[in-house]
């Protein structure tokens, strides 16, 4: 009896083998995004952005007359799922390109897979290891972490700050930043007098900022992407820390400013220009792209557009441009086309790709921002 039931279940496996035949005249694009789980603040806006763009492109009649078929898979930020889904996308769905994953850990685990499967990977994760060493089929859209760190250090030099306390969270984002800070500090003559890592779900960081304050630092540099970053500034001000507070580009979410209230005033951080799109001068080349993305996203989803969704926007833009340029949906041709793309205006900056540079952004993709009266403003303006 038990054996019969067992066999029935086993047969069920065999039965799942029917896959619907795919329409021939579409361009298949896969997306591996952490829509749920610990990195959902990245994956959720990315997925929404991609859905929005795909609708829009298809409404316009697609690319070269072909519609885009978007296959989004939620990895929940776990590499084992990313790997399993990547294999499905490459082998079964035979996608032209994969957008994502949202995190560096996942990207690094499928980098070889994309390379061997000749599938273009447009990662939405920031770490430099993704594109250095360069893999033929692997690209990324977010700015390098080192750009952000250098921007901050340059600003510190202007303010004559030389002793800083560093705080970071135990996420991929926090740790990648910490590594760059530690590496770049000596050459910028910045001394790290206190260096603390805290948990991403930390609810109060008084003890950590107390330690930082006691170290005699002139400024606090926090590198994280969670709510903890507004807790840091709140607690620092509560215990009477008077120095400057710097944050990473992860601070680019107005919700965190709102959550921190007055404590957020005067915080300095680097970010893409999306956050200050409305105050950019009209002659800024990114202005129109930024404004239209922001407007469309906010109208459709009733929430603020974030720079993370912007990474997915850039990935899709680059892909469509490359397909048009190559006038082909052959992965090798499109890949070659990406390497020749110059001056593509995205939300993160202006992309200039080359065979050696699979990120295509430069230092000036970041601009230093601050918080003035609960709003983002360009520093020094």
């Amino acid at each position: 009896m038990r054996i019969v039931r067992f066999l029935a279940v086993m047969l069920l496996f065999a039965a799942v083998t029917v896959t619907p035949a795919a329409a021939k005249d579409t361009i298949k694009v896969g997306a591996l995004l952490a829509v749920t789980g610990p990195a959902s603040f990245l994956g959720a806006p990315e997925a929404k952005t991609l859905e929005m763009m795909t609708d829009e492109i298809n409404k316009r009649g697609g690319i070269m007359g072909k519609k885009i078929e978007l296959i989004i898979k939620d990895t929940g930020a776990s590499p084992e799922k990313a790997l399993s889904f990547a294999k499905q996308l490459i082998e079964e769905d035979k996608v032209l390109a994969i957008i994502g994953p949202s995190t560096t850990g996942e990207t690094m685990k499928i980098k070889n897979l994309a390379e061997e499967g000749n599938t273009i990977l447009l990662s939405c994760a920031a770490a430099e290891v993704i594109v250095n060493p360069v893999a033929k089929y692997v690209f990324k859209t977010p700015q390098n972490d080192s750009f952000a760190v250098i921007k901050i250090f340059d600003e510190m030099k202007k303010m004559k700050i030389s002793k800083i306390a560093v705080l970071s969270s135990n996420t991929g984002f926090g740790q990648a930043g910490k590594v760059q800070i530690e590496k770049l500090a000596p050459e910028h003559h910045i001394q790290i007098v206190s260096n603390e890592v805290y948990d991403k779900s930390a609810t109060d960081l008084t003890a950590e900022v107390t330690k930082a304050k006691a170290s005699g630092a002139q400024a606090l540099l926090n590198w994280s992407i969670e709510p903890a970053q507004s807790i840091v500034i709140k607690n620092a001000r509560q215990i009477g820390f008077k120095g400057r507070i710097f944050q990473s580009h992860g601070f680019g979410n107005i919700k965190y400013v709102a959550a921190a209230g007055p404590a957020a005033e005067g915080v300095i951080f680097p970010a893409g220009r999306l956050l200050v799109a409305d105050v950019l001068p009209a002659n800024n080349p990114q202005k129109s792209v930024l404004m239209s993305y922001k407007r469309d996203y906010e109208r459709k989803f009733k929430e603020d557009a974030s720079t993370f969704g912007g990474h997915a926007y850039d990935a899709m833009t680059i892909l469509t441009r490359a397909i048009e340029k190559a006038h082909s949906t052959d992965s090798a041709a499109v890949r070659n086309a990406i390497e020749t793309l110059k001056g593509v205006v995205g939300t993160g900056g202006i992309f200039n790709f080359s065979p050696q540079d699979h990120n295509g952004l430069s230092m000036d993709s970041f601009v230093m921002l601050t918080v003035r009266k609960g709003k983002f403003a360009i520093l020094g303006n």
Partner: protein, 357 residues
């Protein structure tokens, strides 16, 4: 008697071969990828089933043992020892054949541990840790046991997440393939897919074989007596503590072996493998299978992991497992694949007292 125990095992092996043959004839060999990964999770589940179903001890920290196995072998096979190669211990290890050199991403030479050496070290560590903490942990009962195992799992998760050497939130990548025999290799290469399917399921078959033997031996009877009434078992002169510890260590060994092999298969590991949610999933699967039902656990473990890894649950992946836990525990606490499921449901509806699980 013996043949009745092993008959299902033979059918199981036949079914495994059958599935592989079907996928190869229908050109759907890609299903083997997820089936292989599911097999490694099944290995954890077989061990956990012994713990929960037969010894009656809950563990909410089994992902911890999986992670110890996976992370240790990943670390040892990716950590470059070149700067220390003149160290006496390292040069001894190199001479004894524990180490080898591999070309890294940038084309440089890395001196790293052989996968088999790393595997042995990883599994031994997991077993040792299980043995050391097993003593005091298994003295606890009920909520305290649940909390202690949950605590263990949390500590492993925190350490994995906190240590830069283990890659923090990004985990470890670029783990080399594990050559078991000259023609047998654990790797994610597409060309190795069929052999990896058999390696993975071979391990499950071995684990099930060992477990069946255990269940039908004196130890198994002792375990069931622990589950039924521990004090009575103790009074009968059964060394309950020893048998519980024995099962705990064995299940930790299964989990760590699964961790080692899946890490080589995936070419890396991330902290999600150590998370509490993973431990809870394992418990959920054992519960669906029917607690003291090894075959139920294997079947449900394969099915649910396969569906999850195929992405059928979408953004409801965790919710599905939560719902399963509630529904099964509420309505059919003895599992879905139970012979008397209809009777159970009737008893439930008629409002008769059911036996405690």
């Amino acid at each position: 008697m013996r043949s009745r125990i092993y008959l299902p095992l033979l059918i199981f092996i036949a079914a495994l071969i059958g599935v592989q043959q079907i996928t190869s004839y229908t050109g759907t060999a890609y299903y083997l990828t997820q089936l292989t990964m599911a097999a490694y999770y099944c290995l954890v589940i077989v061990g956990l089933c012994l713990m929960i179903g037969y010894a009656g001890q809950i563990s909410l920290g089994h992902a911890g043992f999986f992670a110890i196995g996976g992370y240790l072998s990943a670390f040892l096979t990716t950590y470059d020892l070149t700067p220390m190669k003149d160290d006496r211990i390292i040069s001894f290890l190199a001479k004894a054949g524990f180490l080898w050199t591999r070309e890294d991403l940038y084309g440089g030479q890395m001196l790293i541990f052989q996968p088999w050496a790393a595997c042995i070290a990883a599994v031994l560590s997991a077993v040792l840790i299980a043995y050391v903490i097993g003593g005091p942990v298994l003295k606890l009962k009920g909520h305290y046991l649940a909390m202690a195992t949950l605590g263990f799992g949390t500590i492993v998760y925190r350490i994995v997440l906190g240590m830069t050497a283990l890659g923090g939130a990004d985990g470890l990548s670029d783990v080399p393939p594990f050559k078991i025999l000259p023609f047998l290799e654990v790797s994610g290469e597409m060309s190795d897919r069929v052999q990896n399917y058999y390696i993975a399921w071979g391990l499950v078959v071995v684990a099930v074989f060992l477990s069946l033997n255990l269940i039908h031996s004196r130890i198994g009877r002792a375990l069931r007596s622990i589950h039924g009434a521990e004090d009575a078992a103790n009074a009968m002169g059964i060394d309950t503590a020893r048998y519980k510890l024995y099962t705990f260590v064995l299940s930790a060994a299964f989990a760590s072996v699964a961790g080692v092999f899946l890490t080589h298969y995936n070419g890396g590991i991330g902290p999600s493998e150590a998370s509490i949610m993973k431990s809870v999933r394992y418990v959920a699967i054992v519960a669906v299978g029917g607690m003291a039902n090894l075959w139920g656990a294997v079947v449900m473990g394969t099915l649910l992991n396969f569906l999850s890894l195929r992405g059928y649950f979408g953004t409801y992946d965790d919710a599905v497992f939560g719902a399963i836990l509630i529904v099964i525990m509420l309505f059919v606490p003895r599992g879905l694949l139970h012979m008397d499921i209809v009777r159970d449901l009737k008893a439930l509806l008629s409002g008769r007292d059911e036996e405690a699980v």
